[in-house]
């Protein structure tokens, strides 16, 4: 960490004046450096070739540091992954901070380094940004917004309209890691565990899949908030098809499952960050699995079910013991239970 002449971020650092200039010059620009950002203009100018995807997301996670990452990495991977789900390779990102007065420079520096790690890993550039500071009590350490532009792979044809009866449902890895990692550090709930967030970039994995299998990858979605169950419910409803999944084939880490039992949470609704659901043509499902299992993001990938024309609009799960139940939408937030 470079030496700053201030320990905490104050309202002045968001004023646009000298302090903002100092904050940016002493750290931010250096760490995020690239040809487009170095123009230091009101906006970035560049040309793009091919069909493009555009996405945005805001990150308000608490706590901002968690096992397996911090809000900085999350803000980059989140938008990179949203673009990847469109079949696009993320190119350029905007980055906007809303910082609460009093955040320490040390914390900010850790977040900034998280961002740096993430952009390097994902291979994207931050080309424009903004910094605002709000009064103490009006934020929660730091909020980040990122927007991103990516180039859609020429072989990609990702749309829910393409989902048909017989298509296979694949999940790229263990579910509920991120949500439970966060929960384990949340005030009032702390518990001892080695569970780490699955926060990671999925762009390289997705592009490799599309490169190999093109249109047979019909639909992609990252099951972040609301988890796996919410993604499948949305699809079942929009497409008016049935989705049948098998509980036995849904990959979940023992510790995560144990924590869910203890907290009274259903892992199907718990958030993920480096995970995706792929709906693929039946004939290529095994091939997808083969490719994924060689990738850092797909070691635990499984086929978890298929699309059917029975119980239209619903997600049905075959339970571990062979019974059946509907997996519905989550109502409100999952709240811990009493006993």
């Amino acid at each position: 960490m470079p030496k700053f002449d201030f320990d905490v971020i104050t309202l002045g650092h968001g004023s646009g004046g000298l302090l903002t200039h100092r904050l940016l010059q002493s750290g931010v620009f250096d760490i995020l450096k690239n040809d487009l950002l170095d123009q230091q203009h009101d906006g970035a100018s560049f040309s793009l070739e091919g069909k493009t995807a555009f996405s945005t997301d805001s990150y308000v996670i608490s706590p901002i540091f968690f096992p397996g990452g911090n809000i900085g990495e999350l803000a980059i991977y989140g938008t990179v992954n949203d673009l990847a789900m469109c079949g696009a390779e993320a190119k350029y990102l905007s980055l906007a901070f809303i910082i609460e007065e009093g955040m320490t420079m040390e914390s900010f520096w850790i977040v900034l380094n998280g961002i740096k790690r993430a952009i390097d890993k994902a291979g994207v550039k931050i080309v424009t940004g903004d910094t605002k500071v709000v009064e103490r009590g009006k934020g929660d350490h730091i909020f980040i917004n990122t927007s991103g532009i990516g180039i859609i792979h020429p072989k990609a044809n990702i749309h829910h309209n393409r989902i048909e009866v017989g298509d296979q449902i694949i999940i790229s890895g263990n579910i509920a890691q991120h949500g439970i990692a966060i929960m384990s550090k949340r005030e009032g709930l702390e518990f001892e565990t080695d569970i780490v967030s699955d926060s990671n970039n999925l762009n390289h994995t997705i592009i490799a899949l599309i490169e190999e299998l093109g249109e047979d990858i019909k639909f992609l979605r990252d099951p972040t908030r609301g988890g796996l169950a919410s993604v499948l419910n949305e699809l079942a409803e929009i497409r008016k098809l049935g989705f049948v999944i098998d509980q036995n084939s849904i990959p979940i880490d023992d510790q995560v499952e144990g924590a869910c039992e203890m907290l009274g949470l259903d892992p199907l609704y718990v958030a993920n960050e480096g995970l995706f659901v792929a709906i693929v043509k039946k004939e290529v499902a095994t091939k997808v699995l083969e490719l994924l299992q060689k990738d850092e993001n797909g070691v635990n990938a499984r086929i978890i079910g298929e699309v059917t024309d029975t119980h239209v609009g619903k997600v049905m799960m075959k339970s571990r013991i062979g019974g059946h139940r509907v997996v519905g939408y989550l109502t409100g937030e999952q709240l811990p239970r009493i006993c």
Binding site: S319, R320, I321, R325, I338
Partner: protein, 365 residues
């Protein structure tokens, strides 16, 4: 949770189902007491696997569901007072009071916190000496020891800004209320494993003898439940009525002595109004005379009118096993988890919520 997998073994499940088919000759109606058992039955799809002659009805063992509207109103009132921090287990927050839920009070600015243990609330009181910290002590006998212990801890440390709003309910009086109802249809009970972990089996013997009804203390995993059902049906087919313990890996005949002593130290038995059922004599715990300084009801003058239950909700009939959730005209239409008419649709362990979320049958209605 490796130690649970053997209780979820599909092969064992199959064997129990086959055995149940083999021994069942008459129609039997069994009630599982605990909401956790209800959810496990529905979530694992067990209800559809049972012989047609066996009907499971879902009992009153969801503490969130049976907490009366008036008690929720008391909690909301306490939360809304200046300088108060109201702490609660998570799933009490969404339950509607007569005007609002704790979640709505929180959104409007009340300091309401979700905790996992009442001991954390004592800690909170210690850290905030200028505020009053109140713990909303709901639950069956299961949560009573920890809630009682929080009072003992606070007293030992002379923490005077801590109190509890006790709304504890007890299983055996509720069973008796159900059995003595003229419309009773229950042939056997699966008693709640966790409750008996604390209380043991003793209080169930007189109930089984008086009403000539089998009572099987049962766990929560699929194999537990099927074994419990099998033991109960076995008794019924042989015209026996005993107290049996399926959940012997957690339940001792005498229960947990230390936990029971702590309960006795802090609580006395009192009458309690059950949501949907009405007043049941001697069916709850209230903070006793010795610890009255820690009784939020005595400490604060809670000034609210008595609230009536929502007449459209048939939760009473559901918790007595007289009706199934889908027999309610409002189920899934006027009453849904996002706008519940009554508590069984709110709580994660309520019977209506279980049917709404997991049962294909119910959704088709």
């Amino acid at each position: 949770m490796k130690f649970l997998s053997e209780y979820r073994d599909p092969e064992l499940v199959k064997e129990y189902i086959q055995e149940l088919h083999r021994i069942t000759t008459k129609n039997w109606t069994l009630m599982e007491i605990c909401g956790g058992q209800t959810h496990s039955l529905v979530k694992n799809g067990i209800l559809d696997m049972l012989p047609e002659k066996i009907t499971m009805v879902h009992g009153p063992g969801c503490p969130v569901c049976v907490t009366s509207v008036s008690v929720i109103d008391e909690a909301v009132w306490l939360a809304e007072q200046p300088n108060h921090i109201l702490c609660s287990f998570g799933d009490m927050l969404r339950v509607p009071g007569s005007k609002k839920s704790l979640l709505e009070a929180k959104a409007a600015g009340a300091d309401v916190r979700i905790l996992y243990s009442p001991l954390e609330a004592v800690e909170l009181a210690k850290q905030n000496p200028t505020k009053e910290v109140i713990f909303f002590a709901v639950g069956f006998e299961t949560t009573a020891p920890a809630n009682a212990l929080s009072v003992v801890h606070a007293a030992q440390q002379s923490i005077l800004n801590y109190s509890i709003l006790a709304s504890h309910v007890l299983v055996p009086p509720a069973m008796e209320a159900i059995l003595s109802d003229e419309a009773n249809i229950i042939d056997a009970f699966l008693a709640a494993g966790h409750v008996c972990t604390i209380m043991g089996l003793e209080e169930y013997y007189p109930v089984a003898a008086k009403y000539k009804i089998p009572i099987v203390v049962t766990g929560f995993e699929p194999v537990d439940l099927l074994q419990g059902i099998l033991m109960a049906v076995n008794q019924l087919e042989k015209e026996e009525y005993k107290v049996e313990n399926q959940y012997s890996r957690a339940v001792l005949r005498e229960g947990n002595k230390m936990a029971k002593d702590t309960i006795q130290k802090v609580f006395s038995i009192s009458d309690r109004i059950w949501r949907g059922i009405g007043s049941i004599p001697q069916s709850g715990f209230e903070v006793n005379e010795r610890y009255k300084l820690y009784n939020a009801r005595l400490k604060f003058h809670i000034d609210i009118p008595f609230a009536e239950e929502n007449k459209e909700c048939i939760s009473g009939d559901i918790m007595k096993g007289l009706k199934k959730p889908k027999q309610c005209p409002n189920f899934g239409s006027k009453c849904k988890p996002e706008h519940p008419l009554g508590a069984p649709m709110v709580s994660s362990e309520g019977a209506c919520a279980a049917y709404y979320h997991y049962s294909s049958d119910a959704i088709a209605q």
